[in-house]
Symmetry: C2
């Protein structure tokens, strides 16, 4: 595969090519009427496990907006389900029972449990124009650990955080197994056709620096490094809520660092260094502002992003389901136009 075929891939490798690429976290989802319509007749889990449907949903936002990338329609829990963890979505993941030992985890099927995800990727890559990137993704080890130990979503994942303290060795072994499993999963995604892969560490911000460095950083760094070595595709790492820990996040060594909406990109670059490539970070709430103010927000993010070696425009968190699709059209157009004027 030729390197840097798409604008997104080139930005991920640190090139600035005039226009800033743009895609939107959760761009395939509930704010789109065509997604809601499709979901009337099929539940979320079935949709993620049926390549025809998952591919169609992945492509829906690209049919509406000139986005620079598609992102696989799936869930961070999907590969764990493929490994034998029994769970449902309501709407967040709810496990039949929490998993709180490495033994339990290692008894699970370690890989190849999600052929439908790879088939979805092959289908999307076939239909997607060659100048648009396809992003694969996985949950970062700590975030998956949170759901496994807690057994469901939580505001503070206190069960998971206390498990780290009460049983540090078991926790470390679980994190290692998860890191290895996600490395295999992302490698398989890249081989199936994902041009870029992303690790979502949605709950990293619940940890202080010391705990992050001890339990999370080494495992996550190894996963990023192994995926890149095995596949050559760029890796984006998004540690949500970790704005005060960007010095640690830097050491993960991802090609691109996702930044949430609470940290100005210029401040992020100060912490990450001038050779950093950043992704983000318009506040999803800004899509509810009047047009002039939304444009002001977009310009501010682009200006801030200019401090980085390269910039991938995105929201600083998933798009909210009540967002008007028209605002997304406006956003994508403005990012393209303003950044092309450079």
């Amino acid at each position: 595969m030729p390197e840097g075929r798409t604008l997104l891939e080139r930005a991920c490798r640190g090139e600035r090519n005039g226009r800033v690429p743009v895609w939107i976290m959760r761009q395939a989802g509930r704010y789109l009427p065509e997604y809601r319509k499709l979901r009337e007749s099929v539940d979320f889990k079935t949709a993620t496990k049926t390549p025809e449907l998952a591919a169609r949903i992945t492509l829906q936002p690209l049919e509406r907006f000139p986005l620079d990338a598609a992102i696989l329609f799936s869930d961070i829990m999907t590969p764990l389900e493929g490994m034998g963890v029994r769970l449902d979505f309501d709407p967040g993941p709810v496990l039949e029972k929490p998993v709180r030992s490495a033994t339990e985890l290692s008894l699970l099927e370690p890989e190849e449990g999600t052929p439908y995800v790879l088939e979805t990727i092959r289908r999307v890559r076939e239909e997607l124009p060659s100048d648009r990137a396809l992003i694969g993704f996985a949950g970062a080890p700590f975030t998956l650990f949170c759901y496994l130990v807690q057994g469901e979503g939580s505001k503070d994942f206190m069960e998971a955080r206390s498990f780290l303290r009460e049983e540090p060795e078991a926790a470390s072994r679980m994190l290692e197994l998860l890191g290895a499993a996600m490395t295999r999963y992302l490698t398989a995604q890249a081989k199936a056709g994902a041009d870029v892969v992303m690790l979502f560490d949605s709950w990293a911000g619940l940890l202080g620096s010391e705990v992050y460095r001890r339990f999370v950083l080494p495992i996550t760094r190894r996963a990023v490094c192994d995926v890149r070595e095995a596949t050559g595709v760029p890796v984006i790492y998004f540690a949500n809520g970790a704005g005060s820990m960007l010095g640690d996040v830097r050491e993960v060594g991802a090609d691109v660092v996702g930044i949430d909406w609470t940290v100005p990109l210029s401040a992020a670059v100060e912490r990450l260094g001038p050779s950093a490539v950043v992704q983000g970070n318009l506040d999803p709430a800004a899509l509810f502002a009047p047009e002039a103010e939304l444009e002001h927000g977009i310009r501010a993010v682009l200006n801030e992003g200019a401090a980085a070696r390269a910039h991938v425009f995105n929201l600083g968190h998933g798009i909210h389901h009540a967002t008007e699709p028209d605002r997304v059209a406006f956003l994508v157009d403005r990012v393209h136009e303003i950044s092309a004027q450079g």
Copy 2:
């Protein structure tokens, strides 16, 4: 009232007196069997509105542990209920209907709606030894705004955050009214006997710096300043999750800045300046660690806190309901002993 009668008050005013004072957010609450027992026969709202019960609950942790302060047993929504907002707890606040205009808000009874809170304070202050401080508190204007607009707890308070964008003028007027109401409320608490007051900005971390500075900072700064001017008591401001925004939080001008568990206190002091007094910030999950590791964590927080002009020891968030009371006893003792050795 003589200034600096208690160790906590002296620390709040920037004095170091050998021992570091310690109290614990949510110290009067569910982790205590005597609290759970009392709550068997009375619901949360009734408990907050009955001075005899609220005073007893406020004093419960002081009867077990040599804490340096009691904090009023109440809820940040209590004064809003006193103003006529109809709500219940399940277990978080659920409003009968959201409040989304300044007109609605200003029609509500503006003050003196919570005589039972002031009566609770008078009772506690009477029973509390004179060398222990009583902390009064209120929700910060933005955090109350979040609950009013959203109508209930939320992971992201997106309704509230989009309301700021969609109706910036109405939002500003609501924030102003809330700031003025909480100023009156805290002033009344101080006059009834609270030695220190605290503003909880539990959701400030959901905002980026620009939005915080535009909508929240001026209102919050004025409330802090007005309360101090009217009463002379020190004001603690705790902006949860705002670790990457401490430069802005500094400008609020509180006597003491609460720091959540994700930011090392030394890093906080770097942002707040060496004359800052900080409160915090042991990870509540550390109370689930083996004793040796808990002690290591306590020492680390005390060492970090030495960077500040003065330090009030606390957790970096409310204590978790599953915590063993024995661990709290250990914590309080260790803080006293280690900090006395200086």
